[in-house]
Structures are given as structure tokens and as C-alpha cells.
């Protein structure tokens, strides 16, 4: 029976042993690779970098917005320029937009608690408004009030109307302005990749952004636009704005992958040569001996001529590639180049338009602002010497035409395709045609009104998106932006 006891002890041992061994399990399953808390500024840097890559690279800008705004045209693989979009691009842009917005939302939550940094909170609010604005100008109605609340259990956020989003963006930007402080306690340090910790520049960006939002809605809700613009322009001490190129919101990139300037990365990392200059822009620049022509474009390799392509043209009409002008070197060939997010010229043209509408701009006339805008745009490329001759030309010299402002604004927005496309949808200037190679050729008389909603949203947020799909035709038409007051377009 001794043996029998041994067996019994063994059996009991077998059973008890593992049960008593779970005491280290929590420690074993603690992630040694990733932190559970980090400094907010490092999250903000990720948001700025990721958002800029997403919205200003070949996919987020060159192929579609810049092509649809007729700044660029595709010369090979003419798919996106002719509205044959990639679902993956749409899904990816949507996802990046909201993941960034979520990160910003969590920072605002965190920095609102006791001991938080008001500057960090304000920056997060400015960036959140900036990103939401770009998103709503692509997709019109989007999740806003319920966005970024997955951690509160909202996994199928409701959609808000573009109008309500616009109104709240103005309020958010106004509130952010009040938070910025130059107190040393709240300095944010040199990790700030946009302004190197300069809070005043953040403030200028914030308020200039509010001007951009307001002018966009100025045709559909003029009273609100007017109130907002006048509040800023008549209180420059409270609401500093960008008026000099030194304050331009440029994101400068690094010389090495994976964070090379996105247009350069498309050329050098991806090896693409799919984009040429659009004939619309080239011809407008040529028509007025615009000094920006050799900056914006390279002459065609075959004969040294500046020659653009029809954006989204039939491949058989594109012709030999060496007869097409490519994008100018400073925009395409510099790995540590820049992405222009908001420039002084744009602000001047907003003021010019407000003045043209007889709003109180704090005493600036439409002509003053218009000329300041042209001067700023030329100065951006070191072309100030050419200003006098350029501005003196008939059609360029101010003769009180709104289209003159639109004309110059469209030119100055080069390499900011998102804004150029949005402004073109608002102003219909220059008048653009539907791409000849479009599969919808014959059906529409303008480039797209909007960006396609992502398939992922139809799969994952069906009930909320379905009412929003009503009236959309061919993914990108049928529904205009709330602020798009054009008539006779389809």
C-alpha cells in the first residue's frame, strides 16, 4: 500500500501544481514593448506628420485634388485624374483622419484635467478643427459630435450635417484662441515640428484657419461669415493672423525616408513619374508672363517648351511624355522640402474677398489685400523683383473684379490641392471641364463635387451612412457641398 500512497500523492500533485502557478500571470501578460502613458506633444507630432502625409502626398493630393483642380494632370496610369478612384485610398484617408482626430480628442480630455497644459490643449483644438475642416470639405456630412468616442462605447457614430460642423468649427477656433498663453510654465519646447514652440505662430495659424472656414461658407451663410471675419480683422491684437511669409504654415520634412517630402518621396522612393503640369495652369501662367511659371514647372525635355496636359485626358491623346512639363524642382525634387498648409497669400486673398463684399476689414481695401496677396505669393519664391511688371499687366492690375482674386488665389494655392479643389468648387473659377478619360464621360460637366464615401463605412456604419448616400451619383456627384452655391453644374 506504500506504492499506492505514492501514486495518490503524485496524482494530487499533478492537479494542484498548475492551479497554484497562475500567480505570475498578470506580470507575464504585461506588455514590455509599449507604454500606457506618453507626453502629449509626441502624439501631436505623430498627428501632424501622419495627417500631412495622408492629405498632401501623391494619393491624398497629386492624383486627385491637385489633378481635379487642374494644377496637375496624370500622364501615365491616368486613373485617378479621370475619377477612377481606389477604394483603398479612400478607406485609408478616412481612417487616418479619424484616428488622428481621436488622438487629438484624447489629448484635449487629458490636458483639460488639473495640471494640464493649456497650450497643448489649444494646439490639439486648432489641429482638430483644421483636420475636421479638410474632412468635411471632402465628404460633406461626416461623424463629428459622436466621432472618436469608441472608448465610451460608441462604435457606430452618427453623422452631422456639414452646416452644423462649420458652425462648431468657428466656435472651437475662437475658444482655442483664448487658451494660448506665452507663460513660460506652459512652454511646449522644440519638439513642436511645425513652429518650434512658438505659441504666437500657433495662434496666427488658428485665426487664419478661422478666416479660411468663414470665407468658404460666405456665399451660403454670409451673416455668420461676416461676423467671424470682422471679429478677427478688427481685433488684430486679440486675433493675430498670418500676413507675412515668415509665418506661413509650412511643414518641413527630413531628408531621409520614410519622412521625405511626400511629392519627392513619390518620385524618389516610389519611383513614379506619373504627373505632369496641367494645361490649364500652364496656359494661365503663360498668358500673363507669370514669373512663377519656371518655378512651378519644368520645360519639356524634348524641346524646352512649357506644355501641360489635359487633366484626365484620354491616354492616346497624352502624347509623348518628353513633350510634357513636369512639376518644378522646389516642389518635387527636394527631399527635405515643405508642404504648404496655410500661406500669407491665401489670408490676403480672404481679406480681399471680404473687403470686396464691403465687410469691415479693419481698413484694408480689396485692392490693397489683392496686391499684398500677389506680392506675398511672388515673394514666397524670391520673385519680388518681378512684382511691379507683373501687377501692371492688363487683367492682372486690379480692376475691381472678384475673379481677379479667385484667379490669383487659385495660382497661389499650388501644391495645396485640397484647398485649390475646394476653392474651385466654391468659385467655379477657372471654369474646369470633366476629364475626357472619365468612365462617366458625357454624364457630368465638372470635376467631382465630393470625395466618395469609404466602403468601410458602408460595411461598418451602415445605418448611419445609408441616408447620406441618397442623391449621390457616380460616387462623386449628385450632392454638392453645403457651401457650394454653383448652379447649372452636374
Amino acid at each position: 500500500m506504500k506504492k499506492f500512497k505514492q501514486i495518490l500523492i503524485l496524482i494530487l500533485g499533478l492537479i494542484i501544481l498548475p492551479v497554484s502557478c497562475t500567480k505570475d500571470f498578470e506580470e507575464i501578460n504585461t506588455d514590455p514593448n509599449n507604454p500606457t502613458d506618453v507626453p502629449s506633444i509626441n502624439v501631436i507630432v505623430n498627428v501632424i506628420r501622419l495627417h500631412t502625409q495622408a492629405y498632401y502626398n501623391a494619393w491624398g493630393d497629386m492624383n486627385e485634388p491637385s489633378s481635379w483642380a487642374n494644377h496637375l494632370g496624370k500622364i501615365q496610369y491616368i486613373d485617378e485624374a479621370a475619377y477612377r478612384f481606389r477604394e483603398g485610398t479612400v478607406n485609408g484617408l478616412w481612417a487616418n483622419t479619424y484616428l488622428n482626430l481621436n488622438d487629438l480628442g484624447l489629448i484635449i480630455e487629458k490636458e483639460s484635467r488639473t495640471g494640464g497644459n493649456p497650450n497643448i490643449k489649444a494646439i490639439a483644438m486648432t489641429l482638430r478643427a483644421y483636420i475636421f475642416h479638410m474632412a468635411t470639405d471632402r465628404w460633406k456630412d461626416i461623424p463629428y459630435s459622436e466621432a472618436g468616442r469608441g472608448h465610451q462605447g460608441i462604435t457606430t457614430p452618427a453623422y452631422d450635417t456639414q452646416e452644423s460642423i462649420y458652425l462648431d468649427l468657428l466656435a472651437q477656433l475662437k475658444a482655442a484662441n483664448e487658451l494660448y498663453t506665452t507663460a513660460a510654465t506652459y512652454a511646449i519646447g522644440s519638439s513642436d515640428v511645425l513652429f518650434g514652440g512658438n505659441i504666437i505662430k500657433w495662434k496666427r495659424f488658428n485665426n487664419s484657419l478661422r478666416l479660411r472656414v468663414a470665407i468658404r461658407m460666405s456665399n451660403v451663410a454670409p451673416a455668420i461669415a461676416k461676423t467671424n471675419i470682422e471679429e478677427i480683422l478688427t481685433n488684430p491684437a486679440t486675433y493675430p493672423i498670418i500676413t507675412a511669409n515668415a509665418d506661413n504654415v509650412y511643414l518641413w520634412w527630413q531628408a531621409t525616408a520614410p519622412y521625405k517630402e511626400p511629392w519627392n518621396s513619390d518620385r524618389t522612393d516610389a519611383g513614379r513619374d506619373d504627373h505632369g503640369m496641367c494645361v490649364t495652369l500652364i496656359d494661365i501662367l503663360k498668358d500673363h508672363d507669370d514669373p512663377r511659371l519656371p518655378v512651378y514647372a519644368k520645360p519639356a525635355a524634348a524641346d524646352g517648351e512649357y506644355r501641360g496636359v489635359v487633366s484626365g485626358d484620354l491616354p492616346e491623346n497624352v502624347g509623348a511624355l518628353n513633350r510634357i512639363s513636369r512639376i518644378g524642382a522646389i516642389f518635387r525634387d527636394v527631399p527635405d522640402g515643405f508642404t504648404p498648409i496655410l500661406r500669407a497669400a491665401e489670408v490676403h486673398f480672404i481679406i480681399a474677398e471680404a473687403a470686396f463684399k464691403n465687410w469691415n476689414t479693419g481698413g484694408i481695401t480689396a485692392q490693397q489685400a489683392y496686391e499684398a496677396g500677389v506680392a506675398a505669393s511672388l515673394a514666397e519664391y524670391g520673385l519680388s523683383a518681378s512684382y511691379t511688371a507683373y501687377i501692371a499687366q492688363p487683367d492682372i492690375a486690379w480692376n475691381n473684379q472678384l475673379n481677379q482674386i479667385y484667379h490669383q488665389k487659385w495660382i497661389s494655392l499650388f501644391k495645396n490641392g485640397n484647398e485649390a479643389w475646394a476653392e474651385n468648387r466654391r468659385t467655379d473659377y477657372p471654369l474646369l471641364e470633366h476629364a475626357p478619360y472619365s468612365p462617366y464621360f458625357g454624364q457630368h460637366n465638372r470635376p467631382p463635387f465630393r470625395y466618395p464615401y469609404p466602403v468601410t463605412e458602408i460595411n461598418l456604419n451602415k445605418d448611419n451612412i445609408e441616408p447620406k448616400l441618397v442623391g449621390i451619383v457616380d460616387h462623386m456627384w449628385g450632392q454638392k457641398m453645403w457651401w457650394d452655391t454653383r448652379t447649372g453644374v452636374n
Binding site: 497562475t22 469608441g150 472608448h151 462604435t155 531628408a255 525616408a257 466602403v455 460595411n459 451602415k462
Partner: protein, 1102 residues
């Protein structure tokens, strides 16, 4: 826990009498076939664990009660039971089984059991069956040999991985089985190439040399695998290695050498009528003439071609369309003369090249000629022997392969030592250790990536390109100082790719186990076993300066990646086996397991280098990018099993297992799962003695298997990106952490019928199975507008039911004449997604270009292919836009196919005639769709053969007449210039037949917008294996003196694609996929051509 106590109680109850009077029994075991003595036969006193193994001369000796029954068993022979009846000498002859019906089979935990006592399906494959016609990857050798087991080799690249699924998909993520070697789980770690690129480093089970394998048991259902827990939900591949005790008659030596030659045997069908360039067709030429009011005489085709379609200058668009990689250029072989990349040139005053025009001719085999004949040398040597109380086996083998892609290789060296020892009457020990070195100087890149040569030469290649010129000059520069190439925009010269864009791997691995058996009593044995599997692997990927299309900017690029993996298992179990009276026997085990896996990876990347092609950290411009990851998983388990047999015809099996897993939240660590099964040999139960029906069995079983998840999934953390301008970047985890996560459960049941006829010469085994997996731990996508892209939850239910059939026939049996055996296996199953989570409509398994996704959708079979299709009218006719004659498309993705096959199976015929033997294996699959990018871009780029058929480039084409004629085409209904749609957004057809002529390059360019055109039915029939052997006559061999046996074989694998579906007009190997997980199913993106292998093997025994 309660069930374990019951088991314990039973065990205690049986301990009633531990000692009885015994006598010493000896004897010799011989083979009934040829009378030879048989070493290694297991002799066990029934109902006890007392046993012996016959020695080199077939002799055994043991102590047994005078009224005991001895059970003689040996793999491949019918088990015999003999009553002692007081005799001291018992000699037995064993009958060789034609087919395994009643023999011994290895089951869970490495325990050999009689097949007849099992209530579930186990199919075994002998070592000979997989080592005769070897493959670099062990998995591939199982293809077509086991019913219900689907094997997909991902590509023809040397060392490529293979996916194996048993009885369909049970999981949304991975349905890989568990691999167990001699009772200890081993890693099948893989890091596959994705559809977007990477290198296929294979799956780690390929480290096992088939020559070391005695047998493989495939445990298909839940009951068979339940004791392994965790990953056993997808079945278990149980590998038993060779040891000495079962084969040594004296010191024995075997040498086996094989050489095989590989060449690609399935190539995409390319056109050879039009070269690189654009707008070059006669149709567009004539349209140009008409538009510009020119005549052919005024503007000849030659002039049009050189001025508007293709003229090489710098391969970057500096000439005419010479930056393009599409083949929409001028017609070949009609006497055109055009400057080309390989044309002679002179230099002008500025030192720039002036290219001569040279004949514009086709190079029909340019893609094929890139490939070389691969070679594989396989040598193995084993020595084994046994003395009184010990036996040992040492095996050394090498496999050296050179791939069909130039400059690719793989070598595997393996040393295995196994020894066992009877230390005392009660104590025995066995140990086995294997060391493997698996290394490669260069493995090819795959997927849609410029590192994959097929992206260029199998997709975006000029049909006029002379491969010989690329081969001869790849290491020289062109007049602009760039590497010699046909194009400078998108791809490097394929020879540059294989010589200067390298992916090397060096893996050192050792695995093995050590087991001690102690016989506590006649009927109880205690076994302790420790097993460990460790490998460390170094990978180095380098891209030389001047590599095109892979992001190399300055000096080159490299990534060095070190990883190690250690899996430790400790088991302790008690085996018991007891006869109760004349009718009952009860056996089983009680055990515990401790499992600990540690995984570590560290990497360093250099994105730009100061000194070109010096791949060191110090040479990196800026900071090198470093990465690291560490993980640990621990689990504890207790388990038990019990088998009760009644009169050796009725068998009840039951198991239970409880796991505690570290990866689950604290409250959910512990989970229990049971199984139960019943088997009835009805021919014995009802005494159906018949010459016709020799054996019949009915069986049924039900089982559950639980499963935990990956480590660190339960808490939200921050991820990081590489620093931007020196600033660290963090982002919140994109995965919403789970609430109340618990284990997954797979419930399965199966019923089987086995019958054998005419002395077992004909038999079949048919099984119905039904697996239900629920509460899967799933990372489901949620609307990113929530701020998160996914959340981890228990969700979903997948059901998998089907039938598998194994049929054996000994058609001809003649000891001195012709013998013919045939084996058929066949399986058909339906893999349904019953539900996902809440009202979630889709779970994305993978995605490809455009809107193409592969999804699990509730109420649909697993693996639905969704994508944009053609707009069609009610009659199925394609609808075109009357404004331009081009196709209109569905507004949203539609269902285009399904990746799961309808059925698959294998047919093996084996013949022997005196000293000759021959066998061949045919492997078939019907159904199972995939999206082929070679087809899709083959159309877009104008390289596919079907882009020139029917004169479409000369004359243009009309949709519905020249293409898509099987469905026809009508124009859309247009009112006031607007295309009309119904309420669902579907385009309405006008009913008018389309007659608008469009250029072929526009029609095929439009493949871009939809995926319907490139969904291919993956049906195939392949001649998988052939082996023809000849054994030299003994009298001749004996004259050599020292040699006992010489056998020579002619062997071949993957010999022919005998059938493919007509939709496969691009001629892609339908067996395609990426890696070993579900994410790789149903996609083909520039597959590396599959290889045929033919060679010789010689086996020598001393």
C-alpha cells in the same frame, strides 16, 4: 475539476490487487509473409503496462500471469492476441496488413493505440510515403495523401511556405494545425510574404527532414486532438521519428542519395505581337491618320511608331513613351526599326547617346528564359543499432538546393540522435535531439513588389525585350551612368534584382525531448517528459545602390533582423491499463502540462548609406532605425483520458482538459473542455463472419476544444512610429481593448463507418464531420470614425461540415507477379459563417487592388470574394456608356466568388512486379476562386495573350461582339443626357445592342476599375508524384559483399497540370496564396512559377 476527481477515483478503485503470481514467457516473432524474424515488435500483457520489445533477432522475454493474454503489435501488421495458458514459450507469426485497419496507430501525446479501439478518425502516412519523393517542405509531401487535408504551396520559390488546413477553416485568423514531434509540440513559425511584397522565408516545419520520419498521424477531429488543447482546434500533425529499436537486426547503415532537377512548368500566357510603348496599334495608327487627314504613304506606320509610340532614349520618358512599362506599342516582327535599350549607340558632342534603330522583333520566351534549371542534392546517412538494454540511431542529412530563379538557394543540414535505455526493469529513458541549420544566401522576393522579379518580367515587361542582353550586361552601366536596363522608371534589371537585392536567412535550431518511464505497478506507468524547441534566426535584406522601385535613395538600404523563439513543454502523466474480469478493460492517463513560449525580435534598418553598398550601422546616414519586440506566453494544464472496452468490440473513450492561460484577463484564465466517443466493431459484436465482409466498425465522437489569445491584447497601450526629425512619435492603440474577454470554443462531432472486404483487400473509411467554432477572439473592424479601427471581442460562429472518404483497393495480389494497389481519398465540405458580431455584415480576411476584398459574411460560405463588377441588365448583358462605348460598373462591390473549393482529393496507384515498383499520385481540386493580378494587370499592361486575340489591336473592338461575347452588351438607358438608374442605384440598360468601336488599350485599361474580369476558378488536376523503383537482385548485391540492399528510383514531383478551368486563360498555377494564414487565401499577385522536379534516388543498406 470535478471530472478529474472522478477519474482519480476510478483509478484508485482499480488498484485493488497489485501483485499476482507470474511466470517467465519467451518466444520469437516472425513475419508471416517471408518468415523473417521481426525486431521491435511490441509485446504487452493485456490490461497491464508490462511489456517488452523484441530484440534484433525477434526474441522477447517478459513476466506474465499464467492466464494472461499477450498482445503482439507492430506498425503495418495486424495485431495478434495470444493467451498464455501456462506456456513458457510462445512463438508468433504476424500477418502484414495490406492496408492499415487494425494495426497500431500513434495518437495524442505520442501514445500508440490499436486503431480498432478509436472512436475517431486518424489517418497515418508512413515515412516511406513522404520520403520517397521528397520536397524541401515536408508539408508539400502530404499533398493528395490525406483525406480532408488541403495543402497549398504558396509559390515556386525555393523554400517557399505551404498552407495546410484540416477539415476546412475553423478560425477567421489562422487555421493552421499544431505540429507535434514525438509527443512535444514544435513551432511552425512563419513570416510570410504578403500580397504587397516581402520574402517568403518558409514555414519552420520544413526544418524536419522527411528521412527521419517513421510515420505521420493526422489527427483531424476534435476528439483526436483534444488532449493537446489550444491550437489543436485546427487538428494535429503528429510526427513520430525513427528510432533504432524498431529496425535494428544488427548494426545497420542506410545511405540515401538523390539528385533532382527543377524547372518552372506553369507560365502565364503572354502575347508576342506588340512591344513596349503606347498607342502603337494599327487601329490607333489609322485613327490618327483619319483625324489628321493623312495617308499611309504620307505618314507610314514606321514613322508613326517611332514618333508617337515607342523610341528609346533614357528609359525615363526622355524618348517616346520609353518610360512606360506597358505593351501597347507598335506591332512586332513586321520589319519596323526602332531605337531600343540594347541598340548600339554613338555619343554626340555633349556625350549623350544617339541610338541606332534596330529590328523591332518579338522575344517569345523572354520571361521563361530568365529561369534556370534548379538542382537539389539530398543526401542522408543513418546508422542504428541495439544492444541488450540500449538502442540508438544517428542520422545526418543535407539538402542543398539551387532555385529556378538565378542566384537563389537554400541549404539544410540536420543531425539527429535518438537513444533509449532500459535502466532497470521498471525504469527506462529515451532522449532525442535534432540540430538543424537552415540557411540561404538569397531567397526571392514575392508579392506586388519590385523585389519580385515576376512583377517586372511576368507583368510589366516589354514583349520585345531580349533577356539575353539583360543577362550579359546587368553589371554594366548605360551611357547615362545608370545600371543597364530596359527601363529606368519602375524596375531594376531582373538579374540586378537577383544579384543585388538580397534576402538572406540563417536559422539554427535545436529541438528534442527527454522522457523517463517508471513502471509503478503492472498496470501503472509514470512518464515525465521535457521537450524544448529553440531557434535563432538571422535575416539580412540588402538593396544595392541604384535599385529601382524599392525606395532606395542613396547608397543602398539594409535591414538586419534577429529573432529567437523558445517553446518549452514539461509533461507528467500516469498511464494505466487494467483488465477487469473477462469482459472489461480500462486504460487511460492523467497528466499535467506546463508550457512557456518566449519570443524576441530585434531589427536595425539603414535607409541611406554614405559609402554605397557597405551595409553597416556606422555607414548609415542619419540614425539607423531600430526595432524590438519581446513576448511571453505561459499556460498550465491538467488533462485526463479514459478508455473502456467491452469484449474488444465496444469502446468508450473520454477526455477532459483544463487550461490556465496567461494571455486572458485574470477572471478568464481557467477553462475546461471535454470529449467523449464510442466505437463498435459490429462484425465482432454480432459475429458476422463472412468471406466477403471481413471487418466493420461504426464510430462517433463529440469534443470541445478551448483556445486563448495572443499576449498583451487586453490593455490599451501606445504604439510608436519611427522618430520624425528626431522627435519620438506615439499614437494610441488603434485597437479598442476588450471587455470581459474569454476563451474561444470549438465544438465538433463526427461519425464514421469503416468496412473491409475480402480479407481486408478492399476497405473504406467514411467520416461525416461537423465543427462549430464560436466565441472566437476576433479583432473586428469598426468604423474608424469611432476613433479606433478595430476592437477585440469574442464573436462569430463558423461551421464546417462535410464528408471525407478513404478507399483502399488491393486490386492485384500476386507474390511473384504483378501487384496493384489503389488508394483514393476525397473530401467535400461546406464552410459557413453563421454569424459575426451583432449586426456586423462583414469581416475582412484580406484585400487586394481596388475594392477587392475577401470576407467572412454572415450566412455565406467562408471566404467570399467581393469586388466591383460590370453593370448588367436583367438578362446578364453588360451595359456600356453610349457616350464612349466603355463598360459601366456596379456602384458598390458585389459578390464575385468564393475561395473555398467544392471538393478535393487524391488518387494513388502503386504497382510492383518482382524487383520493380512504381507509383503515381494524382491530386485534384474543384472550385475555389481567386483574384489574379497577373491576369488583371496582364490585361491592363497589354502583355497577356488574350489582349491580342481576335485582331482587336488591328481593328479595335466592340464590347459584346469581340469581347464579352458570351454575355453580350447593350448601351445604357440615357434620358436628357443622364444615365438612368433604378431605386437601388443599378444602371438600367436601353436594350440597344452596343456597336461602338473602341481601342483595345482602352478596353483592357478599363480592367483597372473592376475586378470581375480577373476572378479565376482555381480547379485543377495535377500529376503530383511519380516514383519508379528497382531493387537490384539480392544475388548480385550479395556478391558485392558488404552491401545488403541497393534500390534505385526515378522520382518526379509536380509533373503536369492536367486540367485547369477555362477562366484560367492567363495560365496561372491555381494553387496559389500567400503564406500560411487565412489572409493569404484567394489572391494571386505575380506568383513565382511553380516548379516541376525530376530526378533519381539511390538507397543503399549495409
Amino acid at each position: 475539476m470535478k471530472r478529474i476527481l472522478i477519474l482519480t477515483g476510478l483509478l484508485l478503485f482499480m488498484g485493488a490487487s497489485l501483485y499476482a503470481q507470474t511466470i517467465r514467457v519467451t518466444g520469437t516473432v516472425t513475419s508471416q509473409t517471408d518468415g523473417a524474424t521481426m525486431p521491435g515488435v511490441s509485446v504487452v500483457v493485456r490490461g497491464t503496462t508490462i511489456g517488452a520489445v523484441t530484440d534484433l533477432n525477434g526474441r522477447y522475454e517478459l513476466q506474465a500471469a499464467p492466464n494472461a493474454t499477450l498482445v503482439f503489435s507492430f506498425i503495418g501488421y495486424t495485431t495478434r492476441e495470444v493467451r498464455v495458458d501456462g506456456r513458457e514459450v510462445i512463438n508468433v507469426a504476424l500477418l502484414e496488413e495490406v492496408f492499415e485497419i487494425e494495426g497500431v496507430v500513434v495518437t495524442a501525446l505520442g501514445i500508440s493505440r490499436e486503431r480498432r479501439a478509436l472512436s475517431y478518425s486518424v489517418q497515418s502516412v508512413s515515412g516511406d510515403d513522404i520520403s520517397e519523393v521528397k520536397d524541401m517542405n515536408l508539408v508539400n509531401t502530404l499533398a493528395g495523401k490525406v483525406a480532408g487535408v488541403q495543402i497549398t504551396n504558396s509559390s515556386g520559390a525555393i523554400g517557399s511556405s505551404s498552407r495546410i488546413i484540416i477539415r476546412g477553416n475553423n478560425s477567421f485568423l489562422s487555421s493552421n494545425p499544431l505540429y507535434v514531434v514525438d509527443g512535444t509540440p514544435v513551432s511552425d513559425f512563419s513570416s510570410p510574404v504578403s500580397q504587397w511584397g516581402g520574402t517568403d522565408y518558409g514555414n519552420a516545419i520544413m526544418d524536419i527532414d522527411p528521412a527521419n520520419i517513421e510515420s505521420i498521424s493526422v489527427l483531424k477531429g476534435g476528439m483526436a486532438a483534444a488532449l493537446y488543447g489550444q491550437n489543436a482546434a485546427n487538428g494535429v500533425i503528429l510526427i513520430t521519428t525513427k528510432d533504432a529499436s524498431k529496425k535494428a537486426t544488427r548494426l545497420g547503415v542506410n545511405i540515401s542519395s538523390a539528385v533532382t532537377f527543377e524547372d518552372p512548368y506553369i507560365f502565364p500566357a503572354f502575347q508576342n505581337e506588340y512591344g513596349q510603348g503606347f498607342n502603337g496599334s494599327e487601329f490607333l495608327y489609322r485613327r490618327y491618320l483619319a483625324t489628321n487627314n493623312l495617308t499611309e504613304a504620307q505618314y507610314p506606320y514606321q514613322q508613326y511608331a517611332i514618333e508617337r509610340s515607342f523610341r528609346y532614349y533614357n528609359g525615363l520618358g526622355g524618348g517616346v513613351q520609353d518610360g512606360r512599362d506597358e505593351s501597347w506599342g507598335p506591332r512586332l516582327d513586321i520589319g519596323l526599326m526602332l531605337p531600343q535599350f540594347n541598340s548600339p549607340y554613338t555619343l554626340d558632342a555633349n556625350g549623350l547617346p544617339v541610338w541606332q534603330a534596330t529590328p523591332w522583333v518579338s522575344n517569345p520566351n523572354n520571361t521563361r528564359s530568365f529561369f534556370e534549371t534548379g538542382q537539389t542534392f539530398d543526401n542522408s546517412f543513418e546508422v542504428f543499432g541495439a544492444a541488450d538494454k540500449t538502442s540508438a540511431r544517428l542520422a545526418v542529412s543535407s539538402m542543398n538546393g539551387k532555385g529556378t530563379i538565378p542566384n537563389t538557394d537554400l541549404s539544410r543540414y540536420s543531425v539527429m540522435f535518438t537513444g533509449d535505455m532500459q535502466i532497470t526493469d521498471r525504469l527506462s529513458a529515451k532522449a532525442s535531439i535534432t540540430y538543424v541549420k537552415n540557411f540561404s544566401d538569397n531567397l526571392p522576393g514575392g508579392g506586388y513588389d519590385a523585389n519580385n522579379v515576376m512583377q517586372a518580367i511576368g507583368g510589366w515587361f516589354g514583349r520585345q525585350v531580349d533577356m539575353q542582353a539583360l543577362k550579359e550586361n546587368w553589371n554594366t552601366k548605360d551611357p547615362f551612368g545608370r545600371w543597364y536596363n530596359w527601363n529606368q522608371t519602375y524596375f531594376s534589371n531582373p538579374y540586378f534584382v537577383v544579384h543585388k537585392m538580397l534576402n538572406s536567412r540563417d536559422r539554427n535550431r535545436s529541438f528534442g525531448n527527454f522522457a523517463v518511464n517508471y513502471r509503478l505497478a503492472d498496470w501503472v506507468t509514470l512518464t515525465g517528459r521535457i521537450g524544448n524547441d529553440f531557434f535563432s534566426e538571422n535575416r539580412k535584406e540588402t538593396l544595392a545602390d541604384g535599385s529601382i522601385g524599392v525606395g532606395v535613395t542613396q547608397g543602398g538600404w539594409f535591414n538586419i533582423n534577429d529573432r529567437s523563439n523558445n517553446e518549452f513543454n514539461a509533461d507528467l502523466f500516469l498511464n494505466f491499463d487494467r483488465t477487469l474480469g473477462a469482459d472489461f478493460r480500462i486504460d487511460g492517463l492523467l497528466g499535467a502540462n506546463y508550457y512557456n513560449r518566449q519570443y524576441r525580435i530585434q531589427s536595425i534598418t539603414g535607409n541611406a548609406l554614405t559609402v554605397p553598398n557597405l551595409f553597416t550601422i556606422g555607414n548609415v546616414i542619419g540614425s539607423p532605425i531600430a526595432g524590438m519586440y519581446n513576448a511571453q506566453v505561459v499556460s498550465n494544464s491538467v488533462f485526463g483520458s479514459m478508455n473502456i472496452s467491452f469484449r474488444n468490440f465496444l469502446f468508450l473513450n473520454a477526455t477532459g482538459r483544463n487550461d490556465w492561460s496567461s494571455t486572458l484577463p485574470a477572471g478568464s484564465w481557467s477553462y475546461f473542455y471535454p470529449s467523449v466517443g464510442l466505437g463498435l466493431i459490429f462484425t465482432d459484436a454480432f459475429n458476422i463472419e463472412s468471406d466477403v465482409l471481413s471487418y466493420g466498425k461504426l464510430r462517433g465522437s463529440w469534443a470541445q476544444i478551448g483556445k486563448a489569445t495572443d499576449p498583451y491584447a487586453t490593455i490599451a497601450t501606445y504604439g510608436s512610429n519611427q522618430p520624425f526629425k528626431g522627435v519620438t512619435q506615439f499614437f494610441t492603440s488603434r485597437q479598442l481593448p476588450p471587455v470581459d474577454l474569454r476563451n474561444e470554443t470549438t465544438t465538433s462531432f463526427e461519425f464514421g463507418l469503416e468496412m473491409a472486404f475480402l480479407m481486408n483487400r478492399f476497405n473504406f473509411d467514411i467520416t461525416y464531420f461537423n465543427n462549430l467554432s464560436r466565441d472566437q477572439i476576433l479583432n473586428v473592424n469598426i468604423s474608424p470614425a469611432s476613433g479606433y479601427s478595430s476592437m477585440l471581442i469574442n464573436a462569430g460562429e463558423i461551421q464546417n461540415q462535410g464528408v471525407e472518404l478513404l478507399l483502399n483497393a488491393g486490386i492485384l495480389r500476386n507474390r511473384n507477379g504483378l501487384n496493384w494497389d489503389m488508394t483514393v481519398n476525397w473530401s467535400k465540405s461546406t464552410n459557413m459563417v453563421n454569424e459575426l458580431y451583432g449586426d456586423l455584415q462583414s469581416y475582412q480576411l484580406s484585400s487586394s487592388w481596388g475594392a477587392l476584398t475577401i470576407q467572412a459574411r454572415p450566412g455565406k460560405p467562408f471566404g467570399t470574394i467581393m469586388g466591383i463588377g460590370y453593370a448588367r441588365d436583367e438578362q446578364g448583358r453588360v451595359i456600356v456608356n453610349p457616350a464612349n462605348g466603355r463598360r459601366l460598373l456596379t456602384p458598390v462591390p458585389i459578390e464575385l466568388g468564393n475561395v473555398m473549393p467544392d471538393w478535393f482529393g487524391g488518387l494513388r496507384n502503386s504497382f510492383s512486379y518482382k524487383s520493380f515498383s512504381a507509383s503515381f499520385l494524382i491530386d485534384a481540386r474543384m472550385g475555389g476562386d481567386f483574384f489574379s493580378v497577373t491576369h488583371w494587370f496582364g490585361a491592363y499592361a497589354g502583355v497577356a495573350a488574350f489582349t491580342t486575340e481576335g485582331g482587336v489591336r488591328e481593328n479595335g473592338l466592340v464590347i459584346g461582339r469581340d469581347v464579352l461575347s458570351e454575355s453580350g452588351a447593350v448601351t445604357a438607358l440615357v434620358i436628357d443626357g443622364i444615365i438612368q438608374r433604378d431605386n437601388d442605384g443599378n444602371i438600367i440598360g436601353s436594350g440597344n445592342v452596343n456597336d461602338i468601336v473602341i481601342p483595345a488599350q482602352v478596353f483592357f485599361g478599363d480592367f483597372w476599375g473592376n475586378q470581375e474580369a480577373s476572378i479565376i476558378d482555381g480547379s485543377f488536376v495535377k500529376l503530383r508524384e511519380i516514383a519508379i523503383g528497382y531493387e537490384l537482385p539480392r544475388n548480385i548485391v550479395n556478391q558485392l559483399g558488404f552491401v545488403r540492399k541497393i534500390q534505385i528510383s526515378l522520382i518526379g514531383r509536380n509533373l503536369a497540370l492536367l486540367y485547369k478551368h477555362k477562366s484560367n486563360n492567363i495560365n496561372i498555377d491555381p494553387e496559389t496564396g500567400f503564406g500560411v494564414t487565412n489572409a493569404g487565401m484567394g489572391l494571386e499577385q505575380y506568383q513565382l512559377p511553380s516548379s516541376r522536379s525530376i530526378g533519381f534516388r539511390i538507397n543503399l543498406s549495409f
